[in-house]
């Protein structure tokens, strides 16, 4: 592992097979993360963002690939194949906040028990119930949940509060890496801003590393240091946030950015129309997966899969990345 990285995802693949249909949800994804940073993952619905997150957290078993992780003790391990004993110790270091705050909380458990659950799973026999409760109180306070309400059931909480419960549950075991899957998408903007500020504060206090999955590009732009763009299971572009938003190097990224609705009625952005439908992941197109919809497509694109290559501090998978001048956002001072 490179000394600067806390996580290195290498050639990760995940295929789902049901009724003889094989869906390649994640194909050959690789990227690195520096500790204390936030990586945003964006892309069309169904492109494999959740699957990627779940594979890293080992909520799904990846089909192949490696996820190298530098543990709290400084060991370098492949999180996907690490031995049982060590796994027990480090499993809690990578946690996930799930997509839906309404269905991911068990309605029959009190909020106290929901947040305590991961402690029970990881510290059984090591930590007393009293210590666990104290830890729950502490984290509940930090995420801004009123501790007098912890005996209540989730239905009595608003969307924003439930989101905080989900975050508290992920953070209570002191993880190093937190994977947030659409953690703020269901919230209105003012509550969203509260939760994002909270995530940033906690990141600083607890030195957390985030993988932030979202289809809201303005939120991703605000919170991420680096952004990965996925299309049909593949990472097609990866780079520093502002650079990528200012000058995309992949035609799909350009199309995605042009479709962002801007909160100003006077600004009309000319959207790049994508031709046709999202291809079927069970039967992906030849060559570049994007070629049927790409307005820069050439002969070669239909024949050869473009590899993910370095280009001026960026990773891009496009045959024409070097020559194309694509449009992004202009940054004002």
């Amino acid at each position: 592992m490179d000394k600067e990285n806390i996580l290195e995802v290498r050639n990760l693949h995940k295929t789902f097979t049901s009724k003889k249909i094989v869906v390649k949800a994640v194909t050959d994804v690789s990227f690195n993360i520096h500790p204390g940073e936030t990586i945003g993952i964006v892309g069309e619905s169904g492109c494999g963002k959740t699957t990627l997150g779940r594979c890293i957290a080992r909520a799904y078993q990846a089909t192949s690939g490696e996820v190298w992780y530098r543990t709290m003790d400084g060991d370098e391990v492949d999180f996907l194949t690490v031995e049982k004993d060590q796994m027990k110790k480090i499993r809690k270091e990578i946690q996930m906040v799930f997509q839906d705050p309404y269905s991911s909380l068990d309605p029959r458990m009190t909020v106290l028990d929901i947040i305590k659950e991961p402690l029970r799973a990881n510290y059984k026999g090591i930590m007393s119930d009293k210590e666990m409760n104290a830890k729950v109180m502490d984290i509940a306070n930090r995420v801004g949940l009123n501790t007098t309400y912890l005996k209540r059931y989730p239905h009595a909480f608003s969307g924003g509060q439930r989101q905080r419960i989900g975050i508290a549950r992920a953070l209570v075991v002191d993880p190093k890496i937190v994977i947030c899957d659409e953690a703020v998408s269901a919230l209105d903007v003012s509550v969203q801003a509260q939760v994002i500020n909270l995530l940033k504060d906690l990141q600083r206090e607890m030195h957390l590393t985030y993988i932030f999955i979202s289809h809201d590009l303005s939120v991703v732009e605000h919170i991420s240091d680096e952004v990965g763009v996925m299309y049909l299971g593949r990472m097609v572009e990866f780079g520093r946030t502002e650079e990528l938003f200012a000058r995309p190097r992949h035609p799909y990224t350009e199309a995605l950015l042009s479709a962002v609705p801007v909160a100003d009625p006077k600004i009309e952005i000319e959207r790049i129309q994508l031709k046709g439908e999202i291809p079927n992941p069970a039967n992906p197109p030849s060559g570049c997966y994007f070629h049927e919809r790409c307005s820069y497509c050439q002969q070669k694109c239909a024949e050869e899969v473009p590899p993910l290559q370095h280009l001026e501090g960026r990773l891009v998978a496009c045959h024409r990345a070097e020559e194309l001048h694509l449009r992004g956002f202009s940054y004002s001072e």
Binding site: S158, S185, Q192, N197, H215, V260, P265, K266
Partner: protein, 357 residues
Amino acid sequence: MDENSILEIKDLNISISMHEGLLTPVRGVNFDMKKGETVGLVGESGCGKSLTCRAILAINDKKCRASGKILYNSDEKGEIDLLMLDPRGKDIRAIRGKDIAMIFQEPMVAFSPLYTIGNQITEATLLHITKDKQKAKEISLDVMKKVGIANAEKRYNQYPHEFSGGMLQRAMISMALVCNPKILIADEPTTALDVTIQAQILELMKEMQKDFNMGILFITHDLGVVAKMCDRVNVMYLGKIVESGTTEKIYEDPEHPYTRGLMGSVHKIGQKKTERLFSIEGTVPLAMNLPRACGFYERCDARIEGLCDREEPDLVEVAPEHCVACFACPHPACQAQRAAAEEMIRREDGRTGGKRG
């Protein structure tokens, strides 16, 4: 009712009886929609947006009690108060789906998993437009093509689970549009979609609006989408409209402290990065046993103590097409309201010989 209006909601109240007490999630909502216009409804999660739009079609739970007026200007029958109709009677059923259609946030709830997509769209056509099965199918296929469903003939015979999320959303929109409704209610229609599909669907809705002079009530928490879609915006807080105006007015020069907070919370790409996003401190109170006070009082940075915690401002017109409910707003209409409220408090204190409470 104004002849250019297609919908007028007057003093709509909705209450729900719960064992802890009476919930009043909608407390006197007023707004109107002109023919062919897109009206936005925005506001904090739980402020009563969905209850309000479901009341228009009389599809709220039985335990939700509504009062006030929901006037619909029907081409054939003139003015109808939808609240007066039996929610299960044939009058409202003739309007539902035909004159007024709704798109739900979650497309899965709009379709039954047991029937093909085509069947379900054609059913609406058979109910309202024609009894001829072949013709109904043709109309349905035509709309499916219009909403951009490629290979519509094949898709017609598929079941909901065979559609991707974005495609199902389009199928639902085609079901809503198949009878050329006069009013389309869209409750968070694109929240679950990514930006490219969202943009396609929004453009489609605009096109259909132009073709059929359809009015759209648009509910979303995405202020970028509102900016793109709406002619006028109603801002809702704790069951009331607190500000309404043209989209430009609301975005450029909002008057109500909540609207200002909401607009300030938006992060725009390309802006200079600040470490923290602006957000309104605190959370919305539960709409139960509310004191006589401005609903935003606890969180408001402009609040006037001794006034805002004792009286609730009404929504008053401060300029053509611009209404605000706030005592601190400098417009004469609001200041007149403030003076009247202060006078009332003075008299009340005089009677009780001191401050209330």
